[in-house]
């Protein structure tokens, strides 16, 4: 009783979209010493049932996609970050203090359902 895989591959599969924020565009290059900007990548795309059987998706996504296929009131599995990395920022405050600060989980490296 396997669910028939929908015709045609998924048009907009869940994947990472790259977006670079240049601090100069925000006027923040005046106080952020480094980096020049940061990768504000994001995850977007569909998680149809056919996709949840591969592409580093969680078992939960598989079950949710299965339930959605049976009962559309159950929402689809969603496209979320599955691997994140930190960044460091070197900036100066108003007291002429130079600050190096690390932020965990700031950049999306991989997405999945």
């Amino acid at each position: 009783a396997a669910i028939p895989v929908p015709k045609g591959s998924c048009r907009n599969p869940c994947h990472r979209h790259q977006l670079f924020i240049n601090f100069r565009d925000l006027g923040w290059h005046k106080w952020i010493i480094a980096p020049k900007g940061f990768m504000a990548n994001y995850c977007h795309g569909d998680c149809p049932f056919s996709m949840t059987t591969y592409l580093n998706s969680s078992n939960y996504a598989f079950m949710q996609a299965l339930m959605h296929a049976v009962d559309p009131k159950v929402p689809k599995a969603v496209c979320i970050p599955t691997k994140l990395s930190p960044i460091s920022m070197l900036y100066q405050d108003n007291d002429e203090t130079v600050i190096l600060r690390h932020y965990e989980d700031m950049v999306v490296d991989e997405c999945g359902c």
Partner: protein, 232 residues
Amino acid sequence: QPSKFQEYDFLQFLDLEKAPSPRRFQPVPRILRKIFQAREAAAAGGVSQDFCYVKELGVRGNLLRLLPDQGFFLNTQNPSRDGSCLQKYLYFNLSAIKEKGTLTMARLTLDLGPRSYYNLGPEVEVALSVAEGPGVWGRSLPKPGRRLALQSVPGPQGPLHFNLQDVVKDWNGNRLKNLGLYLEILAKGDRHSGVNFQVENTCDRLLRSLRASLLVVTLNPDHCPSSSRKRR
């Protein structure tokens, strides 16, 4: 261009009330540049890192601050007979350290100038004390209080570091206690010939090249869970 509203949110996220607008950029201290570049290289190489541990300093922490000295010279007369070169009042504005967290390092660095000048200079003695008296905000000049460190160097060879974690923790606990530091530097020439040319030369150069800064490392428990296990 983000709306002011979004900008405010992002700055809040960075623990900043508003976008700093420094009048001029401080030179980036070598130690911070070194740590930043090592992190960038590791990130580019896909090496996973513990951003809550600063291996270059051997301490845990996710926020490093290098505070410049905001004090002033107390006297710069020519060296007296006992070779006393200079007395300086050192003051570091800790009020910027607002975020909660544990202070894991407070290291005072005295950069006595480039090495090449002093190869044959006289021995130099550095005496560091807590400043007493109304300090920079009162009328009378600060005086040396409790001695924190006394160190002789055979002619200053680059930067000297002093661990001030206990003192700064105390100041952090009660900002009124932060009356600054009292620094005295002596150049110990040949006793019998009194103040000789070399001592004057050393003192003169110290006056021009002395730089003091305080490196403060804090660990924010919200951003750095105590166990090394990754959050689930």
